[in-house]
Symmetry: C3
Subunit: 139 residues, 3 copies
């Protein structure tokens, strides 16, 4: 077994899900690994990862809107508000989703299901530069 | 270190948690790996994985009912409704739980705690055939 | 690639987040692994793991309070109540966060972001002794 690691920098355009399936798939292909796993890790606490339906974009929009309703801004119980009203909701949405996502590699490719895409979910309102660490382990 | 991989097909009987501890445990045993990890990956976006109390079944039923209340069907804000009222709630419940679960292997067995079981959580109302990819990595 | 595994016992002081970044970082350093992953696994169903902002403690307190409001005790729909009013909410909070967390190792250290810390989140009201399995895989 071998390890391949790469840092990915991404610019988000504000809140929402940004598909990263292709970028991660390219790194898996370049590693030459035929069987194993790829671990995607998000180095931030106000954005997160999720594997979601990637065919109909309304599914993602419904998910985003539902989450915005579950964790509204300007909650009177929030004290961590220095960075703005979207700061604390971002941390909560991150905690409810995923910081790392592990996807199997089979026959040299990510073994995602037919309708699965891998997404970086930006929870802050403003565009941000985000860093992911992609680690391929296998043979 | 070595990699062992297997695809598991499961038939669910509609919404609810279905224990898969035994199936995954059997694959770990067959791999012969003594120390490492097993990664279970769910290839769908309307069912998910969770590790949960496996002694008292009322704990799982309480969890399922609580989640049904958190994400009710027929939300007027949902637009992704073509496949029925349980479609969008399924995606949201999946995003709130887990697509991959990584369990350590110690002394040739999954190192689950005393009360832990591994479950596939079907979120759709109708029975479905579901595919999991089980990847054992270790020595 | 090699595997290193260690069991960590922790005493929690009741509900709340307890930082474990330093303990896990020490094990990564001792393993000598330069590139790979560390998988932290929580062997319980009434506490969980989360990677969270570790600079301003009010962020964690806001997250904890928000979760307490989302999953209140004494829900009339709960049947799994034998161990007390905090039992069932603990399982739900666990299911909404993480049982395993996978962090990349780069240049011999956990590749956490600047503001990220790794936390054990005790959901039970009383202090508990908790077991984590830390598995380092890499080269």
């Amino acid at each position: 077994m071998a390890v391949f690691q790469e840092v990915v920098s991404l610019s988000t355009r504000g809140a929402g899900t940004h598909e990263i399936t292709r970028e991660v798939g390219r790194m898996v292909a370049e590693s030459g690994v035929q069987a194993g796993t790829v671990t995607v890790f998000c180095q931030h606490t106000s954005c997160s990862l999720v594997i979601m339906e990637n065919a109909d974009p309304t599914a993602r929009r419904d998910l985003e809107r539902w989450m915005d309703r579950l964790v509204p801004e300007n909650d009177p119980d929030f004290h961590h508000t220095l960075e703005g009203p979207d700061d604390m909701p971002s941390h909560i949405k991150m905690a409810l989703t995923r910081t790392s996502e592990v996807v199997p590699i089979t026959a040299g490719r990510m073994a995602l299901g037919t309708w699965q895409g891998l997404f970086l979910w930006e929870h802050r309102a403003a565009p941000h530069t985000r860093r992911l660490i992609v680690t391929v382990q296998g043979e």
